[in-house]
Subunit: 160 residues, 2 copies
Protein backbone atom coordinates (compact mmCIF):
# COMPACT_ATOMS: atom_id res chain seq x y z
CA UNK A 1 0.00 0.00 0.00
CA UNK A 2 1.19 3.52 -0.78
CA UNK A 3 1.05 5.86 2.16
CA UNK A 4 3.02 8.84 3.37
CA UNK A 5 3.72 9.95 6.91
CA UNK A 6 4.10 13.69 7.40
CA UNK A 7 3.63 16.43 9.98
CA UNK A 8 0.00 17.54 10.14
CA UNK A 9 -1.53 20.87 9.16
CA UNK A 10 -4.66 22.59 10.56
CA UNK A 11 -6.61 21.23 7.58
CA UNK A 12 -6.04 17.67 8.82
CA UNK A 13 -7.70 18.30 12.18
CA UNK A 14 -11.26 17.25 11.24
CA UNK A 15 -9.97 13.84 10.16
CA UNK A 16 -7.61 13.65 13.14
CA UNK A 17 -10.59 14.27 15.43
CA UNK A 18 -12.38 11.40 13.68
CA UNK A 19 -9.47 9.10 14.59
CA UNK A 20 -9.47 10.33 18.20
CA UNK A 21 -13.16 9.44 18.46
CA UNK A 22 -12.52 6.03 16.89
CA UNK A 23 -9.87 5.31 19.54
CA UNK A 24 -12.18 6.42 22.35
CA UNK A 25 -14.72 3.90 21.12
CA UNK A 26 -12.06 1.15 21.06
CA UNK A 27 -11.12 2.08 24.63
CA UNK A 28 -14.77 1.77 25.64
CA UNK A 29 -15.33 5.48 26.35
CA UNK A 30 -17.04 6.82 23.22
CA UNK A 31 -18.53 9.84 25.02
CA UNK A 32 -15.32 10.99 26.69
CA UNK A 33 -14.06 13.14 23.79
CA UNK A 34 -14.71 16.83 24.49
CA UNK A 35 -12.17 18.41 22.14
CA UNK A 36 -13.34 20.00 18.91
CA UNK A 37 -11.78 20.69 15.51
CA UNK A 38 -11.42 24.34 16.52
CA UNK A 39 -9.61 23.47 19.73
CA UNK A 40 -7.18 21.16 17.90
CA UNK A 41 -6.46 23.86 15.31
CA UNK A 42 -5.90 26.49 17.99
CA UNK A 43 -3.86 24.33 20.40
CA UNK A 44 -1.63 22.72 17.79
CA UNK A 45 -0.87 25.57 15.45
CA UNK A 46 -0.62 28.81 17.41
CA UNK A 47 2.70 30.53 18.18
CA UNK A 48 3.28 28.27 21.19
CA UNK A 49 1.78 24.95 20.07
CA UNK A 50 0.77 22.41 22.70
CA UNK A 51 1.52 19.36 20.54
CA UNK A 52 3.00 18.08 17.30
CA UNK A 53 0.89 15.69 15.27
CA UNK A 54 2.06 13.32 12.53
CA UNK A 55 -0.42 11.83 10.10
CA UNK A 56 -0.42 8.88 7.68
CA UNK A 57 -2.17 9.59 4.41
CA UNK A 58 -3.48 7.28 1.68
CA UNK A 59 -5.02 8.97 -1.39
CA UNK A 60 -5.71 12.20 0.54
CA UNK A 61 -7.39 10.28 3.38
CA UNK A 62 -5.88 10.48 6.87
CA UNK A 63 -5.74 6.87 8.04
CA UNK A 64 -3.49 7.23 11.06
CA UNK A 65 -1.96 9.74 13.45
CA UNK A 66 0.55 10.07 16.27
CA UNK A 67 0.36 13.05 18.63
CA UNK A 68 3.29 14.04 20.85
CA UNK A 69 4.43 16.83 23.17
CA UNK A 70 7.33 17.45 25.52
CA UNK A 71 7.37 16.70 29.21
CA UNK A 72 9.99 17.18 31.91
CA UNK A 73 11.30 14.35 34.03
CA UNK A 74 12.91 15.47 37.29
CA UNK A 75 15.18 12.44 37.01
CA UNK A 76 16.16 12.59 33.34
CA UNK A 77 15.27 16.01 31.91
CA UNK A 78 13.30 16.66 28.74
CA UNK A 79 11.22 13.76 27.49
CA UNK A 80 8.69 13.25 24.72
CA UNK A 81 5.19 12.03 25.52
CA UNK A 82 3.31 10.00 22.93
CA UNK A 83 -0.29 10.82 23.75
CA UNK A 84 -1.99 8.83 21.00
CA UNK A 85 -1.02 6.58 18.13
CA UNK A 86 -4.08 5.64 16.11
CA UNK A 87 -4.55 3.68 12.90
CA UNK A 88 -7.95 3.35 11.28
CA UNK A 89 -9.41 -0.08 11.92
CA UNK A 90 -9.60 -1.00 8.23
CA UNK A 91 -5.88 -0.18 7.82
CA UNK A 92 -4.50 -2.34 10.63
CA UNK A 93 -1.72 -4.70 9.60
CA UNK A 94 -0.60 -2.46 6.75
CA UNK A 95 2.57 -1.24 8.43
CA UNK A 96 1.18 2.24 9.02
CA UNK A 97 1.31 1.98 12.81
CA UNK A 98 4.95 0.91 12.69
CA UNK A 99 5.79 3.81 10.38
CA UNK A 100 4.10 6.36 12.67
CA UNK A 101 5.87 4.83 15.68
CA UNK A 102 9.19 5.11 13.85
CA UNK A 103 8.45 8.74 12.95
CA UNK A 104 7.91 9.52 16.64
CA UNK A 105 11.15 7.80 17.63
CA UNK A 106 13.08 9.68 14.93
CA UNK A 107 11.53 12.95 16.13
CA UNK A 108 12.55 12.13 19.72
CA UNK A 109 16.08 11.35 18.54
CA UNK A 110 16.33 14.61 16.59
CA UNK A 111 15.06 16.58 19.57
CA UNK A 112 17.63 14.84 21.81
CA UNK A 113 15.12 13.92 24.50
CA UNK A 114 16.13 11.58 27.30
CA UNK A 115 13.21 9.24 26.80
CA UNK A 116 9.81 8.70 25.21
CA UNK A 117 6.88 7.85 27.47
CA UNK A 118 3.31 6.76 26.87
CA UNK A 119 0.48 4.81 28.49
CA UNK A 120 -1.01 1.54 27.32
CA UNK A 121 -4.14 -0.22 28.57
CA UNK A 122 -3.15 -3.29 30.57
CA UNK A 123 -5.51 -5.54 28.59
CA UNK A 124 -4.07 -4.51 25.21
CA UNK A 125 -1.64 -7.42 24.97
CA UNK A 126 -0.96 -6.96 21.29
CA UNK A 127 0.22 -3.39 21.83
CA UNK A 128 2.24 -4.30 24.94
CA UNK A 129 4.07 -7.06 23.05
CA UNK A 130 4.77 -4.72 20.14
CA UNK A 131 6.21 -2.07 22.44
CA UNK A 132 8.37 -4.55 24.35
CA UNK A 133 9.73 -6.09 21.16
CA UNK A 134 10.65 -2.61 19.96
CA UNK A 135 12.86 -1.99 22.99
CA UNK A 136 10.46 -0.16 25.28
CA UNK A 137 10.02 -1.04 28.94
CA UNK A 138 6.45 -1.48 30.21
CA UNK A 139 6.24 -0.46 33.88
CA UNK A 140 3.58 -2.29 35.83
CA UNK A 141 3.94 -0.68 39.25
CA UNK A 142 2.35 2.71 38.62
CA UNK A 143 -1.22 3.90 38.73
CA UNK A 144 -2.41 7.04 36.94
CA UNK A 145 -4.31 9.53 39.11
CA UNK A 146 -6.59 12.21 37.69
CA UNK A 147 -8.63 15.05 39.12
CA UNK A 148 -11.10 16.50 36.63
CA UNK A 149 -12.58 20.01 36.44
CA UNK A 150 -15.48 19.13 38.72
CA UNK A 151 -13.11 17.54 41.24
CA UNK A 152 -10.86 20.62 41.20
CA UNK A 153 -13.82 22.88 41.92
CA UNK A 154 -15.17 20.71 44.73
CA UNK A 155 -11.73 20.39 46.34
CA UNK A 156 -11.24 24.18 46.40
CA UNK A 157 -14.76 24.85 47.64
CA UNK A 158 -14.28 22.51 50.58
CA UNK A 159 -11.06 24.11 51.82
CA UNK A 160 -11.32 25.76 55.22
Amino acid sequence: MNFIVRESTPKDMPQVLGLIKELATFEKEPDAVEVTEELLKEAGFNSDPMFTCFVAEVDSEIVGMALVYFRFSTWKGRSLHLEDLIVKDKMRGSGIGKELYTKVIQYAYNKKVKRIEWAVLNWNNRAIKFYERSGATVLKDWYIAQMDEAGIKIYLENLE
Copy 2:
Protein backbone atom coordinates in the same frame (compact mmCIF):
# COMPACT_ATOMS: atom_id res chain seq x y z
CA MET B 1 4.85 25.16 62.23
CA ASN B 2 5.41 28.31 60.20
CA PHE B 3 6.00 27.67 56.54
CA ILE B 4 5.28 29.47 53.30
CA VAL B 5 4.47 28.01 49.90
CA ARG B 6 5.61 30.08 46.93
CA GLU B 7 6.73 29.78 43.32
CA SER B 8 10.39 28.82 43.10
CA THR B 9 13.32 30.86 41.80
CA PRO B 10 16.57 29.62 40.19
CA LYS B 11 18.28 30.02 43.59
CA ASP B 12 16.06 27.28 45.03
CA MET B 13 17.19 24.67 42.51
CA PRO B 14 20.10 23.20 44.53
CA GLN B 15 17.71 22.41 47.39
CA VAL B 16 15.00 21.24 44.96
CA LEU B 17 17.51 18.82 43.45
CA GLY B 18 18.21 17.54 46.95
CA LEU B 19 14.50 16.76 47.36
CA ILE B 20 14.37 15.03 43.97
CA LYS B 21 17.25 12.79 45.04
CA GLU B 22 15.53 12.08 48.36
CA LEU B 23 12.38 10.95 46.49
CA ALA B 24 14.41 8.73 44.15
CA THR B 25 15.84 6.98 47.20
CA PHE B 26 12.33 6.50 48.64
CA GLU B 27 11.24 5.02 45.30
CA LYS B 28 14.19 2.61 45.45
CA GLU B 29 16.10 4.12 42.52
CA PRO B 30 18.75 6.34 44.14
CA ASP B 31 21.03 6.32 41.08
CA ALA B 32 18.36 7.22 38.52
CA VAL B 33 18.65 11.00 38.90
CA GLU B 34 20.64 12.47 36.00
CA VAL B 35 19.45 16.08 36.15
CA THR B 36 21.75 18.74 37.58
CA GLU B 37 21.26 22.13 39.23
CA GLU B 38 22.28 23.79 35.98
CA LEU B 39 19.72 21.82 33.97
CA LEU B 40 16.91 22.71 36.40
CA LYS B 41 17.87 26.40 36.28
CA GLU B 42 17.99 26.39 32.50
CA ALA B 43 14.85 24.31 31.89
CA GLY B 44 12.65 26.04 34.43
CA PHE B 45 13.58 29.66 34.02
CA ASN B 46 14.37 30.39 30.38
CA SER B 47 12.01 32.29 28.08
CA ASP B 48 10.00 29.12 27.37
CA PRO B 49 10.14 27.27 30.69
CA MET B 50 9.50 23.52 30.73
CA PHE B 51 7.96 23.48 34.20
CA THR B 52 6.67 25.53 37.12
CA CYS B 53 7.90 24.59 40.57
CA PHE B 54 6.37 25.52 43.91
CA VAL B 55 8.38 25.24 47.09
CA ALA B 56 7.58 25.12 50.80
CA GLU B 57 10.02 27.02 52.97
CA VAL B 58 10.71 26.95 56.72
CA ASP B 59 13.33 29.41 58.03
CA SER B 60 14.96 29.75 54.57
CA GLU B 61 15.14 25.97 54.16
CA ILE B 62 13.26 24.35 51.27
CA VAL B 63 11.42 21.43 52.87
CA GLY B 64 9.00 20.53 50.07
CA MET B 65 8.28 21.05 46.40
CA ALA B 66 5.69 20.38 43.72
CA LEU B 67 6.68 20.49 40.06
CA VAL B 68 4.10 20.79 37.28
CA TYR B 69 3.84 21.38 33.54
CA PHE B 70 1.10 21.38 30.92
CA ARG B 71 0.09 18.42 28.79
CA PHE B 72 -2.53 17.99 26.10
CA SER B 73 -5.26 15.38 26.28
CA THR B 74 -6.80 14.52 22.90
CA TRP B 75 -10.05 13.84 24.77
CA LYS B 76 -10.19 16.84 27.11
CA GLY B 77 -7.72 19.50 25.94
CA ARG B 78 -5.14 21.20 28.11
CA SER B 79 -4.27 19.43 31.33
CA LEU B 80 -1.73 19.95 34.10
CA HIS B 81 0.72 17.22 35.00
CA LEU B 82 2.01 16.97 38.54
CA GLU B 83 5.42 15.39 38.05
CA ASP B 84 6.59 15.36 41.66
CA LEU B 85 5.29 16.36 45.06
CA ILE B 86 7.99 15.89 47.67
CA VAL B 87 8.16 16.70 51.37
CA LYS B 88 11.34 16.18 53.36
CA ASP B 89 11.09 13.07 55.49
CA LYS B 90 11.52 14.96 58.78
CA MET B 91 8.62 17.27 57.85
CA ARG B 92 5.99 14.64 57.05
CA GLY B 93 2.71 15.07 58.89
CA SER B 94 3.16 18.82 59.22
CA GLY B 95 0.54 19.76 56.62
CA ILE B 96 3.14 20.88 54.10
CA GLY B 97 2.25 18.19 51.55
CA LYS B 98 -1.43 19.15 51.71
CA GLU B 99 -0.55 22.82 51.23
CA LEU B 100 1.61 22.09 48.17
CA TYR B 101 -1.13 19.86 46.75
CA THR B 102 -3.66 22.66 47.27
CA LYS B 103 -1.32 25.15 45.59
CA VAL B 104 -1.16 22.88 42.52
CA ILE B 105 -4.95 22.53 42.41
CA GLN B 106 -5.39 26.30 42.72
CA TYR B 107 -2.87 26.81 39.92
CA ALA B 108 -4.75 24.30 37.73
CA TYR B 109 -8.01 26.11 38.48
CA ASN B 110 -6.53 29.52 37.61
CA LYS B 111 -5.09 28.14 34.37
CA LYS B 112 -8.50 26.64 33.50
CA VAL B 113 -7.14 23.19 32.67
CA LYS B 114 -9.52 20.30 32.07
CA ARG B 115 -7.81 18.02 34.56
CA ILE B 116 -4.73 17.35 36.65
CA GLU B 117 -2.87 14.09 36.15
CA TRP B 118 -0.02 12.34 37.96
CA ALA B 119 1.39 8.88 38.61
CA VAL B 120 1.55 7.07 41.93
CA LEU B 121 3.38 3.87 42.80
CA ASN B 122 0.87 1.07 43.28
CA TRP B 123 2.38 0.06 46.65
CA ASN B 124 2.14 3.59 48.08
CA ASN B 125 -1.21 3.02 49.79
CA ARG B 126 -0.97 6.08 51.98
CA ALA B 127 -0.64 8.36 48.96
CA ILE B 128 -3.37 6.54 47.01
CA LYS B 129 -5.83 6.92 49.91
CA PHE B 130 -4.95 10.60 50.28
CA TYR B 131 -5.54 11.24 46.57
CA GLU B 132 -8.83 9.36 46.52
CA ARG B 133 -10.13 11.16 49.60
CA SER B 134 -9.27 14.47 47.92
CA GLY B 135 -11.53 13.70 44.96
CA ALA B 136 -9.03 12.24 42.50
CA THR B 137 -9.64 9.03 40.58
CA VAL B 138 -6.88 6.42 40.60
CA LEU B 139 -6.90 4.44 37.34
CA LYS B 140 -5.65 0.90 37.67
CA ASP B 141 -5.91 -0.30 34.07
CA TRP B 142 -2.97 1.51 32.50
CA TYR B 143 0.70 0.65 32.25
CA ILE B 144 3.39 3.26 31.61
CA ALA B 145 5.74 2.49 28.71
CA GLN B 146 9.15 4.12 28.31
CA MET B 147 11.89 4.01 25.72
CA ASP B 148 15.14 5.53 26.94
CA GLU B 149 17.95 7.15 24.96
CA ALA B 150 19.76 3.85 24.44
CA GLY B 151 16.53 2.18 23.31
CA ILE B 152 15.83 5.00 20.84
CA LYS B 153 19.29 4.64 19.32
CA ILE B 154 19.07 0.85 19.05
CA TYR B 155 15.59 1.00 17.50
CA LEU B 156 16.73 3.45 14.80
CA GLU B 157 19.94 1.52 14.07
CA ASN B 158 17.99 -1.67 13.51
CA LEU B 159 15.57 -0.21 10.95
CA GLU B 160 15.89 -1.68 7.47
